[in-house]
């Protein structure tokens, strides 16, 4: 009797497993981007800032792209990172 019960359980398990596999096969893998859960988020920069950014990228071109920049704006950006915070005041 116990052998019979075991066989039934095994068959039932196989049926369930095959059902799981079929379900997995049919499952479409889809990744939602998700909505930002925070309260605040940066928006697009202003038109003036965007234009300033374009003026700064243009000098990186040697070709026709540089023509788009006025003579005043065509300066080589030096970066203006000043020693501050963690590294301020250190003696090298």
């Amino acid at each position: 009797m116990s052998n019979g019960g075991g066989a039934v359980a095994a068959i039932l398990g196989l049926v369930l497993l095959s059902g799981c596999v079929a379900e997995e096969r049919a499952r479409a893998v889809r990744l939602d981007k998700g909505g930002y859960a925070g309260t605040t988020a940066d928006q697009a920069v202003s038109d003036a800032t965007r234009e300033a950014l374009r003026q700064r990228v243009a000098p990186q071109a040697e070709g026709a792209g540089k023509v788009m920049v006025s003579a005043d704006a065509a300066v080589m950006p030096t970066g203006d990172a000043a020693a501050s915070g963690r590294i301020a005041g250190q003696k090298f």
């Binding site: 981007k33 925070g38 940066d42 950014l53 070709g63 970066g79 203006d80 590294i87």
Partner: protein, 208 residues
Amino acid sequence: MARMKFLCDAERCIHCSGCVTACKNEHEVPWGINRRRVVTLNDGKPGQRSLSVACMHCSDAPCMAVCPVDCFYQTGDGIVLHNKDLCIGCGYCLYACPFGAPQYPSTSNFGGRGKMDKCTFCAGGPEADNSKAELEKYGRNRIAEGKLPLCAEMCATKALLAGDGDMVSTIYRERVMARGFGSGAAGWGHAYRDQERTRERKGAGAKE
């Protein structure tokens, strides 16, 4: 509407790591974290190239898709940013990112890791622009000041381009058209190939 993008010109990159240093200094990035790094392809073989890699601010960012707490957002200019107050440091974004951009600070001696840190395109985070909180969590916000990411602006060979994707692609297209395909006009190939040719010519002349 602009879409901010990085592009590294492999023909120009000389693996000086100036971009890595500039980024760490500008944002006071803690020990153990490199928001940007330079990788070498075909190391020691013909065709060796170096590339500066950081967050590529994907248009359809996989990190955003897998984040279980939805701490990522994309600005109107296509910059992918995240909120460290929401981040739980699970690491899913690191597994999803094809560039290995997300970084985690070590917070204890037993491998504990803190909240994710990555390149912000020098655009800070959700805090008020240029506020102390933003500086401490994400680094400086140069974009709000009308400045491009420092890594690109500091690049000595102008290999690393950053900015409006349309302009970046225009600049790169101009370069490729000017130099043709193969070795770059300002790269190692150009610098040494001509010298080698001169040497070969001299050698050939000596034999004659």
